[in-house]
Symmetry: C2
Subunit: 667 residues, 2 copies
């Protein structure tokens, strides 16, 4: 047991570092770190297993600050515990350019930051994914290699966001009993008292989702410790409702919204120093307190070493598999399996919907890549994400490799982020492209963090037909392509689908979205090419030198482009077709390659059953675009393509008109 | 009381119409209409007030099919009740091109469809908005003019989506006791049994959010009726958990996922006819049953007429205000108030953040437009959406004009849709631009429906500074501009902000998003112009004929463009600056206007602190873009602008380089 006075001084070190850093930065959120300092102190000095000298230790406990605005809590902890990345210099330069101590905690900036948080509710849902990963790996590799807890600190904002419901329902359903959430119940949000906008009984709400709950005074170290002890024995995930005071210690601002998101000000800060008996300068942590913290930082060294011995003692094959899996490296045999499969496709030339082609590719992939963990937001039969290798995980059996995420796109995407962040697994899952909107904040965070999650996005245009405009994406390809660091793939046939899957899996530091059709498509790649052509982002699928016309198209519209080409060539104009499976990869090619692909055809056309935005890059602002400029409609898909003029005939006519007008100009 | 046999036959009429229409369309969802037919029959024949001959009657009860895939339930009801828009011909052409009976119910296609649903959870949250609107208007105009219920049919999918939590928490908090939700508790989702993915105790969950709950057999008409009676007496919103059988009546598929989303097939359909004793042809509703339904369609005629009399008898001013408000027409005095305000701005030339300028504009608007209903997702002080005219609504007092929506962007946006759909109010609300991602599905539905909701989206770029990349939108302008039928505004100063507000309010059939800065901006419109220049979408803010260089910019970057212009002109090159507050309105101008704005400058530049996507329309794919190509960073904003090269110097240098290269080419 840590004596109360010592605890208080350790917790106060967090409070003052946080408060002083915010003051110096002239912006930030002092209230949460001051209010949650007791919880964090108990957790990190008595329970968490971690090792600042080996921060990536795979079996460490995970801590997620879901209420990411309280970033100074993490930075204070990391500094105090002795993580090298976060020095006092870093803390003094909180929120400044070039420092690791960003406004909100960012994964990759410093060891010990397990995920990027700030957008509320995301961290909680990430943690659900981490707990899933832990349990899955424990099932696979045994508790000697994998056996840790995942802790979350969530605020009222996290719990008000809808994603929290998806996350807690999923965690409760899967009985993730090593997930422990502290709710920082401080009754305050930015606008003022929580009672301005909420009356939810959060404890009952969590219980309704199958959680164990415990309610405590969040400033009582013994109560906190006892609650964690109890939580660790539960067969369900636990939510510990911690009644706290935001800005604890601030004489006039504690317990008010004024402590939430602004510096406290010199006068108030003096008041805190007096009130908490902390007669030290800003950023000055007394050596006795720092020593205690640094000692706490060494707590799990022995445990970590013991774990490393267990790894050494493990079966050689098991050990090698575990090490490879945690490193993120794909298994040998992956490339050759894809290559064999591409050869078969070149022979079979299947006419198939790309969502089905994706299933076939997954059948190959899941056979050779044991770390894939599939799923769908209740569209398994439509997304075709489940293969023979991926039986479903159930609450009582994690030997499966597939998660029925339920109708929870947002929770799913955020959990996938957590699974990827945990390591050892590659999460992929399915939804309709239209519903990428439901989980866009999580896709964005995956892109910002640079992690490998793969979203299978089927029913990717008006080609889905009768479900109508509520289900027909028209702007989604553009809006996803607008996002930095996200790979958006739109393959045109089974071969391109296999290549895109290969690229997505190989993209260790980027998330991918693979847009796939509901409707059948013919093979457009009819001969075997060893090289992954989709890796170029755009490539000649029907080459021609000095082409009068170049048609760029993606996915289901490559077929239309090839048809249009025949018509245009029949009318005497050399025509080239470029398949564009990925804008992002195209932009990464050499300038020479890009210029060659863009070419010099007097007439340039793009065909895509989506909006024009983005295609001007290929066709210029005077190019011909054959696509959508409005929402879709409800009808059989072939009628819709006709209705919206996305046909080879329409492309042909537009090209003819343009060629005539150019001839007129020249005459 | 309706005898049981009669009830059954009436409910079966829904079942068979739905089943047969799905069969004929070869796609659709028979399971829900068959399972919920009893609920719908009791509701529409005994409780709902509505009038097929006067479907827009403002005081009608609202019915929202949140589980929109069950669209045939609504179409069957509307046909049976005698709504003119939905004929038998329409039902026979379910999901076909040019018919009103789209795959999912679409607002505007037919009277009686109160909102577009299909994306799950949206309808439930729309209904919360409708109930808010009802209560607000009842407070304002009295219960003689406004006193109705809002009913919702929600499925498991609606309740699994996170938006449902935001909606029910808000409804429970505001004590919306005239909101009654039927939960179609059929234990089935697309993937199979609900138990595959969910273990939530929904009744307890709703109770935790302050709801009244009742659990019944959803096939027992008397239990349904009794539950509705009880619900209507509650002082809280009510959730009626109705245990139902999906595909009720189908001999082998009832109660299974097979009844959910595909035609039942000829054999099964024969089985249903035998089981439910319905020896009629497809689409043949026996006249006695149709007569009963048509009679039910007349139930509220008297009530509607009595209400019209009350309107006639109301105080003339009150009546005129009510009629105007429900018509959606803006009050006289609005334009002149904006005009006066613009004159004042031209004199004052304030240097101010556009979020503050928006507050000042709202101060003018809220004074003359009593139907605005403001709000924020817990960022009131940051979004600046609250003015002196808009005290907050509280659970017990709806005299206010402002809603503390809580940290619930998605629920807020969907509720705003419901408020707008209800009529009588113009909802606007606030969030950070980055969090438009959290509510994108609802913004999209507003665009699809063509309704007037206004999203104030502040902190619109890296200009927000220290909060860092999790809070800095870079792709959001592009991704919102990609969406059809949404007006995206990005004003450059206080005058443009006022003009954009005017345009947003005047856009009766389109939603708007107004992107606003956190940081201060100088006045760039320094003299009074009566015309609303932003209505052109793009216009010369610094004209020049035969300009060597044209710079296009929006929002905070117009200032930078003007600075760059000075530098470029100083170097001897005529330079023109175009402010681009709205891409969408620009595209609606005449070809001549657009050509003139795009112009023929040899060098074209666009400056926006976001991604390039979309700007090629203005500058061509060889133009100079000064903006972002990655996520942002955490630092004071001026440093960030320097760091990311979004400065007048950077623009100047790029222009110089380009001019030199052009001169080189020409030489």
């Amino acid at each position: 047991m840590i004596p109360r006075e010592k605890h208080d001084r350790m917790a106060n070190a967090i409070r003052f570092l946080s408060m002083d850093a915010v003051e110096k930065a002239k912006s930030g959120h002092p209230g949460l770190p001051m209010g949650a300092a007791d919880i964090a102190t108990v957790l990190f000095t008595r329970f968490m297993t971690f090792d600042p000298k080996s921060p990536d230790w795979p079996n460490r406990d995970r801590f997620v600050l879901s209420a990411g605005h309280g970033s100074m809590l993490i930075y204070s902890l990391l500094y105090l515990l002795g993580y090298e990345d976060i020095t006092l210099e870093e803390i003094k330069n909180f929120r400044q350019l070039g420092y690791k101590t960003a406004g909100h905690p960012e994964y990759g900036h410093a060891a010990g930051i397990e995920t990027t948080t700030g957008p509320l509710g995301q961290g909680l849902a990430n943690a659900v994914g981490m707990a899933i990963a832990e349990r899955k790996l424990a099932d696979e590799f045994g508790s000697d290699l994998m056996d840790h807890h995942t802790y979350v600190l969530a605020g009222d904002g996290c719990l008000m966001e809808g994603i929290s419901q998806e996350a807690i329902a999923l965690a409760g359903h899967l009985k993730l009993n090593k997930l422990i959430v502290f709710w920082d119940d401080n009754d305050i949000s930015i606008d003022g008292a929580i009672s301005l906008s909420d009356s939810t009984d959060q404890v009952t709400r969590f219980e309704a989702s199958g959680w164990n709950t415990i309610s405590i005074d969040g400033h009582d170290p013994d109560a906190i410790a006892e609650a964690i002890e109890r939580a660790k024995t539960s067969d369900r995930p636990t939510m510990i409702a911690c009644k706290t005071t935001i800005g604890y210690g601030a004489p006039t601002k504690a317990g008010t919204a004024k402590a939430h998101g602004s510096p406290l000000g010199a006068e108030e800060i003096e008041g805190v120093r007096a009130k908490l008996d902390w007669p030290h300068e800003a950023f000055d942590v007394p050596s006795d307190v720092l020593d205690c913290w640094r000692l706490a930082g060494l707590r799990s060294t022995k445990e970590r070493k013991a774990w490393e011995e267990k790894v050494e003692q493990a079966d050689a094959g098991q050990r090698a598999a575990f090490v490879r899996r945690m490193s993120g490296e794909l298994p040998g045999g992956f490339d050759s399996a894809i290559d064999e499969y591409k050869k078969k496709l070149a022979e079979d030339k299947p006419t198939v919907a790309t969502r089905k082609a994706s299933e076939a590719a997954l059948n190959v992939i899941n056979g050779v890549v044991p770390e894939t963990l599939g799923g769908s937001a209740d569209l398994t039969g439509s997304n075709n994400t489940k293969t023979e290798h991926t039986p479903a995980i159930t609450p009582d059996d994690f030997s499966g490799r597939y998660i029925h995420y339920g109708i929870r796109e947002h929770g799913m995407a955020a959990a996938m982020n957590g699974i990827a962040l945990h390591g050892g697994l590659i999460p992929y899952s399915g939804g309709f492209l239209i519903f990428s909107d439901y989980c866009r904040p999580s896709i964005r965070l995956a892109a910002l963090m640079g992690i490998r999650v793969i979203h299978v996005l089927t029913h990717d245009s008006i080609g889905l037909g009768e479900d109508g405009p509520t289900h027909q994406p028209v702007e989604h390809l553009a809006s996803l392509r607008a996002m930095p660091n996200l790979l958006v793939f739109r393959p045109a046939d089974a071969t391109e689908t296999a290549e895109c899957w290969q690229l997505a899996l190989e993209s260790e530091a980027r998330p991918s979205g693979i847009a796939l059709t509901r409707q059948n498509l013919p093979a457009v790649r009819t001969s075997y090419i060893e090289e992954n052509m989709c890796a170029f982002g755009a490539y000649d699928i029907a080459p021609a030198s000095d082409a009068d016309v170049t048609i760029f198209a993606s996915g289901s519209e490559v077929e239309i482009a090839l048809e249009a080409r025949e018509k245009i060539e029949a009318a005497g104009h050399t025509t080239r077709v470029v398949s564009v499976p990925s804008f992002e990869l195209f932009e990464e090619q050499t300038e020479e390659y890009k210029e060659a692909i863009l070419g010099n055809s007097p007439v340039k056309v793009a065909i895509e059953a989506g909006v024009r935005q983005g295609w001007d890059r290929f066709i210029g602002n005077d190019g011909i675009f054959v696509g959508m400029s409005s929402f879709g409609a409800s009808a059989p898909y072939k009628e819709l393509y006709g209705h919206f003029g996305i046909t080879a005939d329409a492309a042909f006519e537009a090209v003819e008109a343009k060629l005539e007008s150019l001839a007129g100009d020249a005459a």
